[in-house]
Symmetry: D2
Subunit: 139 residues, 4 copies
């Protein structure tokens, strides 16, 4: 939805540093796959410890990496000094998430000085399993 | 929003068994605080491994226990053979979640044969930090 | 969720004036039932022209008065010069809306200097038909 | 997100008939612009009577045509005898809606036998003003 000029190395470094400081991402085994202008992808294995009662990935895993991917997509367009916080996020579960790993692709729908509208799609081994739409704030 | 007759021991046992099988809850250190008719509370410590980049609880922690509390509240009103799955869930973050532990209180707003509308409030050491509203399905 | 001190006459007048300027509310036959500190109720008849294909009230009617009730509840707690805009709103439909009229009761869940989290319940002749949760911004 | 085979004339007729029976769409001056397999577009003028207090289109207008466009997109993929109802819908407002008319483009994200996940984008004279994501049910 937005043009994709090159991301400045400073912004990319800031996002990678912030991601590394998110202990929750480490606990879930998540890693940054791609950091671009208005677009961030995060990958996480479906660890034994990330499952729900039927053996599928817990909705909380899809939410966590979807929320972080969307948040960093927003941060990639914000002022250098900004931090990003989630205002609200809605997730629709599309299918049970089975397989080896989830990938969340977050993108900016509408950038703003304070509020940014974002979206993320989460796939499990390529199958869409969740769709998120929400709002991030520059804090 | 609904009457609260006593929960049958069979239903309570089914919910406790299902919760114990949710590896994600174990990973997050979560435990069932209360299982009642249309109402379930889950508690989780804010583990070092559940934090975001500023040291607060990750939105994914509040979401995970809020979603599970709401899901089991729905399950408490469903047929004996039913399983419960999240259709969709919306979370509004009210304040940064700091302190020792989160408590999610899930409740049924509108029970249904297939679809159940649910709500959950999450507090951090007593302070409201998140509000969830969503839909569960009997699978 | 919040204390309810008396509303200042200036704030109440501002809300009533703003409501009167919302042509959409007039088109729907809506009127203000109650304006209080952090709480506003709006009533609308289910006009022939507000129905969907099965004769029930269109979801857009429940949304419109729920959104406005929640927005004015937020405005009742904002600075005197503020205007209010909807950032986002989620609606769960609980039952088909039949009968003579809808009432939307909006309330503030979490006030803020810029962002306010709100909620609204809509009933049709006393039966709950919709639940809304969203975010308002002081503009 | 889905293939777009030709829509059967019977399904198209059923959607056009249902739309014509939605009195709310008539009240708003809305009309069907396009009915395709998994995709429906609805247009509405920003009537004087559809405005909010600042003269922009009321959020309820964007919601109403976005919800209907998404609902009929879902119906286009359902069994012949099905009716469609909104389970829940989330709307993010992207910008104030000014100009002559709104267009809502609804599409199916994930079809299902009972539940269908949908999305809609609403533009005002070509500018994106709202994004909707929700769930429809075959009734």
């Amino acid at each position: 939805m937005i043009d994709n000029p090159a991301l400045s190395p400073a912004v990319e470094a800031r996002i990678r540093e912030s991601f590394a400081a998110q202990a929750m991402m480490t606990s879930l085994g998540a890693r940054l796959l791609e950091v671009a202008h208005g677009r961030v992808r995060i990958e996480a294995p479906i660890l034994a410890g990330s499952r729900q009662q039927h053996g599928f990935a817990h909705a909380g895993l899809a939410f966590s990496i979807g929320d972080s991917a969307a948040g960093y997509a927003a941060l990639s367009l914000m002022d250098e000094a900004a931090e990003v916080l989630t205002v609200e996020m809605k997730i629709n579960l599309l299918a049970p998430a089975s397989g080896a790993r989830l990938i969340a692709a977050g993108e900016v729908v509408r950038p703003g000085r304070r509020l940014t509208v974002v979206r993320a799609e989460v796939t499990a081994d390529g199958t869409p399993v969740a769709l998120l739409q929400g709002t991030m704030i520059a804090a």
